[in-house]
């Protein structure tokens, strides 16, 4: 019973931390982190040890460009080229799109500033149920 309650507590702390990471809220973060480390020490082999990212150390950090690959020539048909950029970012949803240049200056050329997000959907899990199927029973 105690173990079960412990697990619940760990997951709750974990979830709270994740929420703080994504919104960049650092209120009471010291308390939360202390609790987190206490839990971590008491359960060194938990699965969530592997799932917790180091990224929460820098919730508001700008994305960092690691590499850029560009096609060597443009398409004969459309004269458009293609490129792949690899960034590390604390959150792809709130810190990778159009607004991630806030507060930046010279580095703005190396920010992703994407307008389209590919979302790994989880219908029936985190996404809306109706995204999976809609049954309309008539008559």
């Amino acid at each position: 019973m105690w173990l079960k309650l412990d697990d619940i507590y760990c997951n709750t702390i974990d979830s709270l931390l994740s929420k703080m990471i994504v919104v960049g809220d650092v209120t009471n973060v010291d308390t939360q982190i202390s609790s987190f480390f206490l839990q971590k020490q008491s359960h060194p082999h938990k699965l969530w040890d592997d799932m917790v990212s180091k990224a929460w150390y820098k919730p508001s950090a700008l994305p960092q460009l690691i590499a850029r690959f560009e096609s060597s020539s443009s398409s004969a048909v459309t004269s458009r080229r293609r490129a792949i950029e690899v960034y590390s970012t604390p959150c792809i949803v709130t810190n990778f799109g159009k607004q991630c240049d806030v507060g930046s200056n010279d580095d703005s050329n190396h920010l992703p500033q994407c307008s389209v997000l590919v979302n790994p959907a989880n219908p029936n899990l985190t996404g809306p149920n109706s995204f999976v199927s809609v049954y309309i029973h008539m008559g």
Binding site: R82, Y87, S115, N119
Partner: protein
């Protein structure tokens, strides 16, 4: 939204009842206790997207029509590896089946601040991919695999479906024909939302050319990170090395415009690994060269 769910699947048989409590008094959901291996919605990209997108993105997702390939699916997650109690309630009327992609706007104002368009793609659970059917292979353009072992064949099938997710997402993002279909669909969605007073005045479905892409499958779908990185490198390198032969591709673009796929990874180590693998893939294809 569900309060929590198991990483790696399978999706539980029963949904949590109305008395669930996120603080820790949930005793069961599909027979599973709260504990290790469970994820909360805010820990995932999809959870955040729907949290920030709000009611509007939910409404848009609801109004997406049944996918044209949904008839090819027997189920959305199979039970061949571990147990037979896997939910299968989709009944071939799925809007975004595993391995495909659909486009919506970013919905609510909070998400609009960051993105104009969201491309939803559903990766398979690594251990519970949809059942293999010849029709499904055909519509997704997946070739036969040579693996004989059951587990290996299931995992290689999962990989193929994940590759299909990348292909379909790139197609949705950059293919003008797909964008045209999407605008028609969004026109319908737009009008429907207006009826409910949910439509805002901005254009829905505007597609940009800088696409943010996470490492698909490596989160709650539980692909091993190495495999997820391999698939990402192979498919993005393939996209980079091949040009669209679509002559109707958007001609309103400026000369020399660059279409960009931007991977956003949580860990710097993973980003470096992906970069290394991309370089390796691109060296094989002898096309582009890294510039940084």
């Amino acid at each position: 939204m569900q309060p929590y769910f198991p990483r790696g699947g399978p999706q539980p048989l029963a949904k949590p009842n109305r008395t669930w409590n996120p603080v820790g008094y949930v005793s069961q959901w599909g027979g599973m206790d709260v504990g290790s291996g469970m994820l909360f919605a805010a820990e995932t990209i999809d959870g955040l997207v729907h949290q920030l997108g709000g009611l509007r993105i939910r409404a848009e997702c609801s109004l997406v029509p049944t996918h044209q390939y949904s008839h090819a699916y027997i189920n959305q997650q199979s039970s061949k590896l571990h147990d037979d109690n896997v939910q299968d309630d989709e009944k071939r009327s799925v809007k975004c089946p595993v391995g495909t992609a659909v486009t919506t706007s970013s919905g609510g104002e909070e998400l609009q601040q960051h993105y104009d368009t969201i491309i939803h793609t559903t990766p398979p659970f690594y251990n519970y991919p949809p059942s293999i059917t010849p029709e499904l292979k055909q519509v997704l353009g997946i070739l036969d695999s040579d693996s004989d072992d059951d587990n290996n064949s299931i995992h290689s099938w999962s990989k193929e479906l994940l590759r299909s997710c990348y292909r379909q997402s790139f197609k949705a993002a950059f293919d003008s024909n797909t964008n045209k279909d999407t605008s028609i669909q969004n026109g319908f969605i737009n009008n429907s939302l207006r009826l409910f007073g949910l439509n805002n005045k901005r254009h829905i479905g505007k597609t940009g050319k800088r696409v943010a892409l996470p490492l698909l499958g490596a989160g709650c779908r539980a692909f091993p990170k190495d495999i997820a990185l391999d698939v990402a490198a192979i498919e993005s390198a393939s996209w980079l090395s091949t040009y669209s032969s679509d002559t109707s591709e958007d001609k309103n673009t400026n000369e020399g415009e660059v279409d960009v796929v931007a991977f956003g990874l949580l860990e710097e180590d993973d980003a470096r690994h992906l970069s290394d693998r991309l370089e390796k893939e691109l060296r094989v294809s002898q096309q582009p060269t890294p510039t940084t």
